[in-house]
C-alpha cells in the first residue's frame, strides 16, 4: 500500500529530504505539511530504521504533524510556533547542503588521488644509532597499577552509561508500535462511548509514547474510525466512534 520511494536514507532528515525531493518540492512549510502523512507511514512501517534512532524519527514525525495540523486549522495557531517551524526548515536546508557536500567528499575518497606515508617502522631511523630501550625515567610498577585502576573505573562508568542508554530502548520497543496503540485506543472506545483525549495521553509513560498516542489518534481520525468533539478552543477533546456519535446525535 505504501509507495516506497526512498530505499536508502540516513536518519530522520535524510528520510524527510528524500520524500520532499520525490515530490519535486522545495523545502517549505507547505511541502512539510504535504509529506507529513507519508513520513508517518514510513516510520510506522519501520523499514530500515535503526531502533536506536526511532525516537529521533518520532520527534520529527510529531513536528510534521504539528505543521500539517497548522496548515489545516490555521486559526488555531497564534504565531508563536512560527519560530519552531522555521527552525526545522533551516535545519533541513542546511542538512541538504551537507548531503550535497558529502557526495563530493565521497568522490574524493573514491578517486585514485591519495597521499601515502612510509609504513610505520623504525627503519627510517637507521643510521642514527638510537638506543633500543628507552624507558620513561619516572615510570614504575605502582604508577602502572594506579593508571590501570583509573582506566578500569572509567571503563565501568562507560559500560554503566551504555547500559542505561540501552534500557529505555528495550522497555520502549514493545510500547512503541502505533498499531498496538491503535488497537488499544479502539478497545478503549468500544468499552466506553466517549473517551477524553487527555486521558489517553495520561496513560502514556514516556514522551515517545505520547507521540505514538498522538500519531495513533491522528491515524484513526484519517481512517474515519474516530469522531472528535470539542466545545471550545483548548477545552477537552472527546473521542468517540462515528457510529456512536451518529446514534447520540439522533437521540437528541
Amino acid at each position: 500500500m505504501m509507495d516506497v520511494t526512498c530505499e536508502k536514507f540516513s536518519g530522520p532528515f535524510g528520510l524527510l529530504l528524500s520524500l520532499i525531493e520525490s515530490e519535486e518540492m522545495d523545502i517549505t512549510e507547505i511541502a512539510l505539511a504535504k509529506i507529513a502523512d507519508e513520513y508517518v507511514a514510513y516510520v510506522r512501517a519501520n523499514r530500515g530504521i535503526d531502533p536506536e534512532e526511532l525516537a529521533d524519527f518520532l520527534v520529527i514525525a510529531a513536528k510534521l504533524l504539528f505543521i500539517k495540523s497548522k496548515a489545516l486549522l490555521p486559526y488555531l495557531y497564534t504565531g508563536e510556533e512560527e519560530e519552531e517551524i522555521n527552525d526545522l526548515e533551516r535545519q533541513l536546508r542546511m542538512y541538504k547542503e551537507f548531503v550535497a557536500a558529502s557526495q563530493k567528499v565521497k568522490e574524493l575518497v573514491l578517486s585514485p588521488r591519495r597521499s601515502f606515508l612510509p609504513p610505520l617502522t623504525k627503519n627510517r631511523r637507521g643510521g642514527f644509532n638510537l638506543p633500543v630501550f628507552c624507558p620513561p625515567a619516572k615510570l614504575n610498577a605502582a604508577l602502572l597499577h594506579e593508571r590501570f585502576l583509573i582506566l578500569l573505573a572509567n571503563l565501568e562508568k562507560q559500560l554503566a552509561k551504555m547500559q542505561e542508554e540501552k534500557l529505555p530502548e528495550k522497555t520502549l520497543e514493545p510500547k512503541i508500535s502505533i498499531d498496538d496503540k491503535i488497537a488499544s485506543i479502539k478497545q478503549m472506545i468500544s468499552n466506553k462511548i466517549k473517551v477524553n483525549f487527555s486521558r489517553l495521553l495520561a496513560s502514556a509513560a514516556t514522551r515517545t509514547e505520547v507521540i505514538v498516542s498522538f500519531l495513533a489518534v491522528l491515524e484513526l481520525a484519517k481512517q474515519k474510525e474516530l469522531f472528535f468533539e470539542q466545545d471550545e478552543l483548548f477545552s477537552e477533546i472527546l473521542i468517540s466512534r462515528p457510529a456512536d456519535a451518529a446514534a447520540l446525535n439522533n437521540q437528541i
Partner: protein, 182 residues
C-alpha cells in the same frame, strides 16, 4: 643550514604530524620565521612537479607522497585500504571536515539524530580525533591527517565550497539556537 632545510629533515623522520610549536622547540627557532619557511616549503612542493607534498591539518604538518602518484605508490606498498564508508559515517565525516572542531551536540543538531556510535566508529578507524575543551567542558572533533590523505588534499580547506559551508550563515543560526537551549 636554512630553516626550510631543517624543517624538511624533521618532517621526513617524524612518525607523526608535527605542530609549529613542536618544530620550533626542536629547532630552537622563532615560530614566526619557521611558519614562513614552512609556507615556502609547501609552495616549493606544490610548484615543482614533485613526488612529495606537505599536508597541513589542525595546525600540524606531515610529509607525504604527492596525491597524483597514488596509483603507483599504492601498488608498490601493496596497500589495500579502500575508502568504504556508510552513508551516515560519510555525512558525519563531511560535517566534521567542514565544521571542525565541532562538538557532538552540534553534529547531532545538523544530522537530526544521535551520533554516538558513528563517532566511536570513526575514532576507532582513526578518521577523526577527539580533543577535550576544558573551558567548554566538552569534547570537540576534527578530521585526522589520515583522512586528509585519503582525500588527496593538502589541507581540509581545499574541499569544494569550503568557505561557504565552513561559515554558512544558516549553520551559525541553527547552532546558536543549540547553544541557547543548553
Amino acid at each position: 643550514m636554512s630553516l626550510k632545510s631543517q624543517v624538511e629533515s624533521l618532517l621526513f623522520v617524524s612518525l607523526k604530524p608535527l605542530s609549529l610549536k613542536e618544530l620550533a622547540a626542536a629547532m630552537k627557532a622563532p615560530a614566526k620565521e619557521l611558519g614562513e619557511a614552512l609556507d615556502e616549503l609547501i609552495a616549493d612542493y606544490a610548484q615543482g612537479n614533485r613526488g612529495l607534498a606537505i599536508i597541513k591539518n589542525n595546525g600540524q604538518y606531515q610529509l607525504t607522497t604527492a596525491a597524483d602518484n597514488a596509483a603507483l605508490v599504492q601498488e608498490f606498498l601493496k596497500d589495500e585500504t579502500s575508502g568504504e564508508l556508510s552513508q551516515p559515517s560519510l555525512e558525519a565525516l563531511t560535517i566534521i571536515a567542514y565544521r571542525g572542531p565541532i562538538a557532538k551536540l552540534e553534529l547531532e543538531r545538523v544530522r537530526g539524530v544521535n551520533c554516538s556510535l558513528i563517532i566511536r566508529n570513526l575514532l576507532l578507524r582513526g578518521l577523526i580525533e577527539e580533543r577535550f575543551d576544558k573551558s567548554k567542558n566538552e569534547n570537540y572533533y576534527t578530521v585526522t591527517h589520515d583522512f586528509v590523505r585519503f582525500l588527496g588534499l593538502g589541507s581540509i580547506d581545499e574541499l569544494p565550497d569550503y568557505l561557504k559551508l565552513n561559515s554558512a550563515e544558516s549553520l551559525n543560526t541553527v547552532l546558536a539556537a543549540t547553544e541557547d537551549k543548553n
